[in-house]
């Protein structure tokens, strides 16, 4: 736009005044948006009245009356729709967290493999990336669920490992820990070790800054964290009691179970997202100029320190922003759970609850605002982080 302030105003019609025209244009735009909003609101009101649909959020207190295959908090059929929402939200977060951890591990491994001097490893990583990122995630989820998970053997022919992990078409059964009486002591020892590590870290940093002498911090912290709680276990005995799943009747009882829907979803999402993360990691590492490595070497830094103190911090600056948007994508893609019936927020709330209550507007609004809240908070965090690590150029 023209810089109107410095130009002497032309005498003539007011219509050619850019400031005035901008104002009028904006007013028209706002009026159009408000008008459209009112039009939709008015229609909705009449339609809701005609069809006899209730409005408002009172339905959240009504009894849900259906069972849910996986709930992280206590839930029974007599609980309310409000509780269903929280069950769904937690299930969504569970998939997202497991998926993000797995995808990051696979993705970083593949990203490094893409830059390996080993030709075969490089080619394998490329094949993986090009295969999985060009197949729709929903298709991958359906494949893992219908073609892999559901065709596993039944409970009686389960694939067992170490007599405590069992995999069958009903899910993955594994031992679950419970707290024994000595857990308090163990926990106190762990807490003590953590506090000691933090203090040690501060002291080491202070000494390095004052005298330049390094301190083998990582090894000492690992030793602290292993030895102190380990001593507590030796003195007082095992802090955890493991419940091992056992075949009783037609299925396993006891222990933890990962339902096949959860496994299919996390596997598919992490395999899919890992392909994208790998490319981001590769681009990030390649973005660090080779001169940086040479400069670090000529300063006398060994290879490990060069990587840790010079290359990785600079690569991370490039890697982290797109990485976060991949995490966000993964969280949003977890809504594809609706395709296989995993009880996440969308399939539970925007699916079942919406069908039972018919209150489309409220249900969709709640679902969308949860996702909006997640993505807005992550992008705010990203902006803050970007501002903190951005290169300050001369």
């Amino acid at each position: 736009m023209q810089n109107a302030a410095n130009v002497p105003r032309r005498r003539g019609s007011v219509l050619t005044d850019p400031k005035l025209r901008a104002l009028i244009f904006q007013l028209v735009a706002i009026a159009a948006v408000v008008g459209l909003g009112w039009f939709l609101f008015d229609n909705t009101q009449t339609n809701l009245e005609q069809r006899g649909i209730n409005s408002g959020f009172a339905f959240l207190n009504n009894t849900a009356g259906f069972g849910i295959a996986q709930h992280l908090i206590d839930y029974t059929q007599t609980d309310s729709y409000g509780r269903v929402f929280f069950v769904g939200l937690l299930n969504t977060l569970l998939v997202s967290v497991i998926g993000i951890i797995l995808a990051t591990m696979i993705g970083f491994l593949l990203g490094v493999a893409r830059l390996s001097p080993n030709w075969l490893v490089r080619q394998l990583a490329t094949v993986y990336i090009e295969t999985f990122r060009n197949i729709p995630p929903l298709l991958q989820i359906l494949f893992w669920y219908f073609a892999v998970m559901l065709s596993l053997p039944g409970p009686r022919q389960s694939l067992g490992v170490l007599d405590s992990f069992y995999l069958n078409s009903r899910g993955l059964y594994m031992p679950s820990p419970g707290l024994s009486e000595t857990f308090g002591l163990f926990f106190a020892a762990l807490l003590l070790a953590i506090i000691a590590s933090v203090l040690l870290g501060r002291w080491a940093k202070k000494r390095r800054e004052a005298t330049g002498q390094p301190f083998p911090l990582l090894i000492s912290v690992i030793a602290l964290l292993l030895v102190v709680p380990g001593l507590a276990v030796l003195i007082a005995g095992n802090p955890l009691v493991w419940t091992i799943p056992e075949l009783k009747g037609f299925n396993f009882r006891g222990g933890w179970v990962l339902i096949p829907e959860l496994m299919a979803l996390t596997l598919a999402l992490s395999i899919y997202t890992a392909a994208f993360i790998a490319e981001i990691v590769r681009a990030g590492i390649q973005s660090v100029n080779h001169g940086q490595t040479e400069a670090a070497h000529s300063l006398g830094l060994p290879a490990g320190k060069t990587l840790r103190l010079v290359i990785i911090p600079q690569a991370l600056r490039v890697i982290i922003p797109p990485l976060t948007s991949q995490y966000l994508n993964l969280a949003k893609n977890s809504s594809l759970a609706a395709g296989i019936g995993y009880p996440d927020m969308v399939s539970l709330f925007a699916g079942t609850v919406l069908n039972q209550t018919g209150q489309a507007i409220e249900v969709i609004a709640i679902t969308m605002s949860v996702y909006l809240a997640i993505s807005i908070s992550i992008s705010m965090f990203m902006n803050w982080y970007n501002g903190r690590i951005a290169l300050i150029e001369r």
Binding site: I135, G339, A350, A360, T367
Partner: protein, 365 residues
């Protein structure tokens, strides 16, 4: 006089050329690398031979029913028997030539756009974009000028996938460009409206958008004004995708040096002429690869219409695998679907890379 003759060059040591040297350099250059190579070879051996034997050697290729699948491997008879359904959905079989013709016209019509020497390419492209959709609607839907009507509920298979993707991008592009311009505008109200719109659609998953357009759109519109399922899904897809296109285009607008804006202003061009004649032609050229990538994402996302019960390629295959006559064909079905999607997406991503190299004018800052 004595002349000095050089001896002929000696060949390089045989350790540094040929297959052996390549192996030493690339696969066995140290103990760690050798271990990695062995591990990778083990992985390949674990995956590739069973896959080939399942998909090719032990597979059944000919037959008409499930009983013809006698060997251990894949049963491609299933795909062969249902191929029509996967491609056309429930489109009446005697009218499928119309779908074929639509696709052929698209390919024939688009060919000149890829020929560099073609004169007046932009004008032709715009003409094609105006004429072709009308023609495609007439051929696919019919109902006038002598063609029988085929309701959209009968559309399906790969046809529907392509329709959603094509309409989605064609609708999202103009909307996305307007949104990007609005986001870069100096008028605060316009900017706020555009930013809100873009961030809203980018923040929610497509599934909730599809849910919204299928259950809430009928509530929003006045009595009697109702769309069919496909149009509602398309509206959702277009709104959703336009936000992503807007962000890509904004990247292009930001990459244009400020001098271009100032030069256009100095020539006395107003806002729309400056954008239409100077800025957008350069900016859009920069972001073509980005737009192709958005299109790939959209193409993969079309599979989500399964959630609201449209029969695209993936849903057609999913339905076919639940047919009692063909139980246990899930693997074959999904592998086939994956192959089709992969060919499209991989082809487009290669094309986008090619464009990126071709269009690299060194403009980016």
């Amino acid at each position: 006089m004595q002349t000095h003759t050089f001896k002929p060059d000696m060949p390089p040591p045989n350790q540094s050329i040929g297959a052996v040297a390549w192996l030493r350099g690339n696969l066995f250059s140290g103990w760690f690398n050798s271990l990695l190579t062995l591990f990778a070879l083990y992985l390949v051996w674990l995956i590739v031979p069973p896959l080939i034997s399942w998909a090719f050697i032990n597979a059944d290729w000919v037959g008409t029913t499930r009983a013809d699948c006698t060997s251990e491997g894949a049963c491609w008879v299933f795909i062969q028997q249902r191929f029509g359904q996967f491609m056309y959905g429930f489109y009446p079989s005697e009218l499928r030539w119309r779908v074929d013709l639509t696709v052929i016209l698209a390919i024939v019509g688009a060919v000149p756009l890829f020929i560099d020497a073609m004169p007046r390419k932009a004008r032709y492209g715009i003409g094609f974009l105006v004429v072709y959709p009308l023609l495609a609607y007439w051929l696919l839907h019919g109902g006038f000028l002598g063609l029988e009507t085929v309701e959209t509920s009968q559309w399906g298979g790969l046809t529907l996938t392509l329709v959603i993707a094509a309409v989605g991008i064609a609708g999202a592009l103009p909307l996305g460009i307007m949104l990007a311009l609005g986001r870069r505008s100096e008028m605060p109200a316009i900017r706020v409206l555009c930013v809100t719109f873009i961030e809203f659609w980018r923040g929610v998953p497509l599934i909730t958008v599809l849910f919204m357009s299928s259950v809430m759109l009928p509530l929003f519109l006045p009595e009697g004004m109702n769309f069919d399922k496909l149009v509602r899904a398309l509206i959702g897809v277009i709104l959703f995708q336009s936000a992503y296109v807007a962000e890509v285009v904004r990247g292009g607008l930001q990459a244009i040096p400020k001098g271009q804006y100032e030069a256009a202003s100095a020539m006395g061009l107003g806002y729309w002429r400056m954008m239409g004649l100077v800025i957008l032609p350069q900016a859009l050229k920069l972001v073509i690869p980005g737009i192709v990538n958005t299109f790939i994402a959209l193409f993969k996302d079309t599979s989500l219409v399964i959630i609201i019960g449209l029969f695209d390629l993936l849903n057609s295959i999913k339905q076919a695998t639940t047919d009692p006559a063909w139980l246990g064909m899930a693997t074959e079905g999904y592998v086939f679907a994956a192959l089709v999607f992969w060919i499209f997406c991989f082809g487009m991503s290669r094309y986008s890379m090619h464009l990126e190299r071709k269009l690299d004018t060194g403009h980016k800052r």
